[in-house]
Subunit: 214 residues, 2 copies
């Protein structure tokens, strides 16, 4: 059970030794939005197979990238979550995700989950424009809801609807949102379009645009 290694004194080779195997980075992606249970991870990655998921999680745990946490009763379930190192990794793989998003082509029947867009959304975040902003933006895409909270110059995504009424609510489709995320489409180009609809005060919308770099 000794893991294969490139055995090179090189940062990239080392990173690939740790997280270069099949499924590993996608696991980190899914956990980067928030803790997940084993069965949620399994369901969220069609094709992985239970044994492989268990093995990958064990590796990530051994490497200090993922940690198992137990939610207090009455929930009393155990979840997997990223460690601090894991969150640094999630940040480091962002440019790769953006590179891929620019070459993604048409949807073409591929699986889609709204929380994957957290990645591209995070990549457009401009901390320098977020000073003093404390907003919640809700996103409806393809029947799913996610929201992001901006506060203290940071951005944080979550699955599901916002706990309190959102400052801005955006409804759109995966293709449009992805194009916005990678910058091949500007938000003003689709504002009056049927591909996208927006709710919220003009002020909040202006902040949203600024913070997300449009």
């Amino acid at each position: 059970m000794t893991r294969r290694s490139y055995d090179q004194f090189c940062g990239l080779a080392r990173a690939l030794d740790l997280v270069g195997e099949r499924w590993t980075l996608l696991l980190v992606r899914d956990l980067s939005v928030g803790p997940q249970r084993y069965s949620d991870l399994l369901a969220g990655l069609p094709g992985i197979g239970s044994g492989l998921l268990a093995e990958r999680l064990k590796q990530l745990e051994a490497d200090g990238i993922v940690r198992k946490a137990h939610l207090p009763p009455p929930a009393a379930v155990s979840v997997y979550e990223l460690t601090e190192e894991g969150h640094e990794l999630a940040l480091a793989m962002l440019p790769l995700a953006v590179w891929g998003a620019r070459r993604i082509g048409d949807r073409d029947g591929r699986l889609f989950r709204a929380d994957w867009l957290m990645l591209t959304l995070r990549s457009r975040f401009r901390p320098d424009r977020a000073e003093g902003v404390r907003d919640t933006y809700e996103l409806h895409v393809d029947g799913e809801v996610v929201h992001v909270r901006v506060h203290d110059g940071r951005i944080e995504g979550q699955r599901g609807p916002a706990p309190a009424p959102a400052d801005v609510t955006i409804r759109t489709d995966p293709e449009t949102l992805l194009a916005l995320g990678v910058g091949t489409l500007a938000l003003d180009e689709v504002l009056g379009d049927r591909r996208l609809s927006v709710e919220g005060s003009d002020e909040a919308l202006a902040r949203c645009l600024a913070v997300l770099g449009s």
Copy 2:
């Protein structure tokens, strides 16, 4: 010969479909320093196996990341080089390389090549401090020589010694240089140290430090 795909409408999954297989990103790394012949690539990646190298190159070529070029006579050899897309990829994988470099531990007998440090070196480059700088820095590490040229606010690495006398020449060992590259060690900490020696005018050295973010 149909390639396996995650089949997800997600930038990261798409990137991994394209370059997530074993050896692929290391190939891109090696080509990011300059064109290479088939046999050089093979020799530079111990363990890859000739068949796999040929297949990966074919895939990368089909995806527009790598291109085959024929050098004019009398050299008359064919080499592989990155396309524009390939160079964008090389840039996008940099943060991952830095993340890995911070977790690389001790050398411990692992293979090392000086040109791999081009990656971490590039990651420390500060274009904003490079205005008007037109320098060449030569690096001697572990018996190998590489050099970087800074001009027009850009940085470019090459294997081998600098064509003209370098403005700054640095001699050090892999561990020290990697630590400098990821920022766990500051250059002034080792300047008077036996781990590192420097040649060049004080002015050139000051520019070198500024441009490489020390």
